[in-house]
């Protein structure tokens, strides 16, 4: 990275990621709005929060599993914590380690641990999503079944795709860290930008979890 002079003192890529996040906000806002507009308007079930009996007499329970999704939400929230620690680890690299440093002080500097941890928590979240989607399909809800299915799978699918991109990004950073070590302002910026993206994806999930799962 070249230390170009900039008007704000911020790196260009940092400004750009915020503009990108702005567009992503509108993207998810449109998807979430559509979900909310279509809430309660599906002509056939399964439904998110209530039971349904179809014409043939088959019984469907409320399809969203809030306890399970709360667990996956917790996992994703924890991944934001590990992401913060990953960034801090890279930032601490330049500072000397005190001789009497305890295990936590040492652990804080292990960017590989925290990057891997974040990626793994992200993968765990995706695992939960995959499990959930498979269950829903099994129980009779596909993306084509009704308005709920279309809007739900599209919204959470977009979010899952964003998490996937984030995981790949983190794995790439981890790979670079293993290969040559991440250190210095250029690498700090790289991890900082990845962190901004990751936190954004997490915040979107908080919105989705609240509006789709919790509010009935």
């Amino acid at each position: 990275m070249h230390h170009h002079h900039t008007t704000t003192g911020l790196d260009n890529r940092k400004v750009a990621i915020w503009a990108f996040i702005g567009s992503e906000c509108m993207l998810f806002a449109s998807l979430i709005s559509t979900y909310l507009i279509y809430k309660g308007r599906s002509l056939v079930g399964p439904f998110p929060h209530e039971e349904w009996v179809n014409e043939a007499g088959r019984h469907f329970h409320a399809i969203l599993d809030i306890p399970v999704t709360s667990a996956s939400t917790f996992v994703l929230l924890m991944s934001s914590l590990t992401m913060v620690l990953a960034l801090q680890a890279v930032q601490l690299r330049g500072t000397p380690l005190p001789a009497d440093a305890g295990w936590w002080t040492r652990a804080q500097r292990s960017s590989q641990t925290w990057l891997l941890g974040t990626a793994m928590l992200g993968v765990t979240f995706l695992g939960f999503q995959a499990y959930e989607f498979t269950m829903f399909v099994h129980e009779g809800l596909t993306i084509r079944t009704n308005l709920f299915g279309s809007s739900f799978f599209t919204l959470t699918g977009f979010h899952g795709a964003h998490v996937t991109v984030g995981v790949l990004w983190l794995v790439t950073l981890l790979f670079i860290d293993r290969k040559r070590g991440l250190q210095g302002p250029a690498d700090e910026l790289s991890v900082d930008i990845a962190a901004l993206y990751w936190h954004f994806v997490d915040v979107v999930w908080i919105a989705i979890f609240t509006l789709i799962y919790l509010i009935q």
Binding site: N12, A16, S30, L147
Partner: protein, 637 residues
């Protein structure tokens, strides 16, 4: 070192072989060349859109003509709108964003030169993608606004709409990427002393437009994605039988669509705000207000979308709110008109061709604005909507507004791009034929519209009072055509035979006029310190700017940017000589763009040939990913 003959057109530095030829254009990362690529491509699409208009008008010249079939007519008006908006006017604005913004702010390139090239190639390939089906008689035919449920599979079974949906998704990527680039560039790469309130008006209006792009395009992306999912994967977003809302598409589309029209006009407003002060030899009247009104237009533009839906039955409350917001937005727009007039007032006016087009925008946009305000009243709009009255309105603001502003910009900045002036005599023919032809084409539509002529009809019966107006409109179109021929001839000829231009043929006030024409690859040999809003007038015409705020940037910023006091640069050097690092040329952006379009094209086959679809989509995605990774991990300069 004075040059006797102008250096070669679109100079890309003086290194010989590697900077000429088609490969140098494919691999360019120079914002000036990318701007020129946009300009040529957009003018090409403008001609195509114009041709489509001429066929439309020929069909409508008289009642019950059989020049084209109804089906072809649907394709014509759809492609005319789609081409003009997405492939002509927006990219013409992008040509100026690219070429001009770094020059106006004293930068050497945009923030992300390769992303910039990527935006262009995505536009080109996307434009070709969406235009190609014309030759196979399967061009999009659902209107440029593609209302669902009409465009769902049930009502539009052919491949036409697939081209439209996929094509627009592709083009959206181009605009979004460019927006991120320009937001970063304008925020972060200004010369020392150039505070936001010292930026030239074109850069300011363009800045507002980038935010509109960032916030509006996601809405249409989602609308198109839903339609794509419905058409290819059977989802229920627009499926009325499944309980879908027939208005979902319209709301999502117009949340994009209304800011889109401000995206279309604000750059032209910016260009006019450069041209009018220059040829009035006066600073722009009310610069601060011009900036704030531009911001207000952008902001309020997100609150008026449903004025496109007054006839769908939203109810009195919704109608009233959107009506009031729409009337409100006329205020900042009207303020601009008055400020331009006040700039002209008591100025020492020079009626160059650029100035004529700029003044024409002020007059024609006012007319279009008046009909626009007439639409803002829901009861009145119930009579006007879906008639030619609306067609008149938006052509007055889009052609009389955007295109006239863009033509002003082309005549004004042609010397800066090429080192030669366009011919004023030919330009006058272009202007007057266009001005007369334009008004003859579109003014009668106010009347035929109010007499009830609906939009999008391929023919009409005689005796409804529409015949004369249609004939006049068609005649006007042919006059426009001749005028445009003058323009094309002038544009092509002047590149090699135009009068040689100096740095500053017009007496401009801003940084771009302080450097040679055409601009050397490095833009500024030395970054100047900017001490006011009109840095070049500060040194060339100080009396003119005596009354405005002047100040110095702090020493640290000047030192950090290696800036020097404001000056004119007449020497032509190379970046290598000056030790200025330039971004490497690279084909990766073009290749990544191509692979992205291949990926999207795979979707076309989804219903007809699944194996081909999957191969193209997955293959394109993988190739795109690797190309992008390679681009991302190689250094810029």
């Amino acid at each position: 070192m004075a040059t006797i003959a102008a250096p070669s057109y679109a100079s890309a530095g003086d290194a010989p072989a590697e900077n000429t030829g088609i490969w140098s254009w494919i691999t360019t990362t120079d914002h000036k060349r990318i701007g020129i690529l946009y300009l040529w491509t957009a003018l090409g699409f403008f001609m195509i859109g114009g041709l489509e208009a001429m066929i439309i008008r020929t069909q409508l010249a008289q009642p019950n003509m059989g020049f084209v079939s109804a089906e072809t007519y649907n394709q014509l008006f759809t492609m005319h709108g789609t081409t003009m908006i997405f492939l002509a006017v927006m990219p013409l604005s992008a040509a100026f964003f690219n070429f001009l913004i770094p020059l106006q702010i004293g930068a050497r390139d945009v923030a992300f030169p390769r992303l910039n090239a990527f935006s262009y190639w995505v536009y080109l390939f996307g434009g070709v993608f969406i235009t190609l089906p014309i030759f196979f008689d399967v061009a999009p035919n659902g209107g440029w606004f593609g209302y669902a449920p009409l465009t769902t599979l049930g009502f539009s079974a052919g491949i036409n709409i697939d081209f439209w949906v996929i094509g627009l998704q592709i083009l959206g990527v181009s605009s979004l990427a460019a927006a991120f680039n320009f937001i970063t560039t304008i925020i972060n790469m200004r010369a020392p002393g150039m505070t936001l309130m010292r930026m030239p008006m074109f850069t300011w209006m363009s800045f507002v437009v980038q935010f509109l792009l960032v916030l509006a395009f996601p809405a249409i992306t989602v609308a198109l994605f839903f339609l794509l999912m419905d058409r290819f994967f059977g989802t229920a977003f627009y499926a009325i039988a499944a309980g879908a809302d027939p208005l979902l598409w319209q709301h999502l589309f117009w949340v994009f669509g209304h800011p889109e029209v401000y995206i279309l006009i604000l750059p032209a407003f910016g260009l006019v705000s450069e041209v009018i002060p220059t040829f009035s030899k006066k600073p722009l009247f009310g610069y601060n207000v011009m900036v704030y009104s531009g911001i207000m237009i952008g902001f309020l533009g997100f609150g008026v979308w449903a004025h496109h839906m007054f006839a769908v039955g939203m109810g009195a409350v919704a109608d009233s709110i959107f009506a009031m917001m729409t009337m409100l937005i006329a205020i900042p727009t009207g303020v601009k008109i008055f400020n331009w007039i006040a700039t002209l007032w008591a100025g020492e006016l020079r009626f160059t061709v650029a100035m004529k087009f700029a003044i024409a925008l002020v007059a024609m946009f006012t007319i279009g604005g008046i009909s626009g305000v007439m639409h803002s009243s829901p009861p009145a709009d119930l009579q006007q909507t879906d008639t030619y009255f609306v067609v008149a309105h938006f052509h007055y603001v889009l052609f009389g507004g955007s295109m006239m502003g863009i033509f002003a910009g082309i005549y004004f900045y042609f010397p800066k791009m090429t080192g030669r002036l366009m011919n004023e005599k030919l330009g006058n023919w272009h202007f007057w034929l266009n001005f007369i032809g334009f008004n003859l084409t579109f003014f009668p539509m106010h009347f035929s519209g109010l007499l009830g002529m609906p939009r999008r009809i391929y023919t009409y019966d005689a005796g409804q009072g529409w015949d004369t107006f249609n004939l006049m409109a068609t005649a006007g179109t042919y006059i426009l055509f001749v005028g445009t021929l003058f323009f094309i001839w002038n544009f092509l000829r002047s590149r090699k035979h135009g009068e040689i231009a100096s740095n500053d043929p017009w007496g401009g006030a801003t940084l771009e006029w302080s450097i040679p024409s055409p601009v050397p690859e490095y833009n500024f040999a030395q970054i100047p310190e900017v001490t006011s809003r009109y840095p070049l007038w500060d040194i060339k015409e100080p009396a003119r700017t005596a009354g405005i705020d002047h100040s110095h940037a702090d020493a640290a910023t000047i030192a950090d940017a290696h800036a020097v006091p404001m000056h004119e640069e007449t020497e032509r050097r190379t970046a290598r000589e000056l030790g200025i690092p330039m971004p490497f040329p690279t084909a990766k952006p073009a290749f990544t763009a191509l692979m992205m379009v291949v990926m999207f094209s795979g979707l076309l086959f989804m219903r007809h040939n699944f194996p081909v679809a999957i191969t193209m989509t997955v293959g394109g995605a993988i190739a795109m990913f690797f190309s992008f990774y390679s681009w991302f991990t190689s250094p810029v300069e």
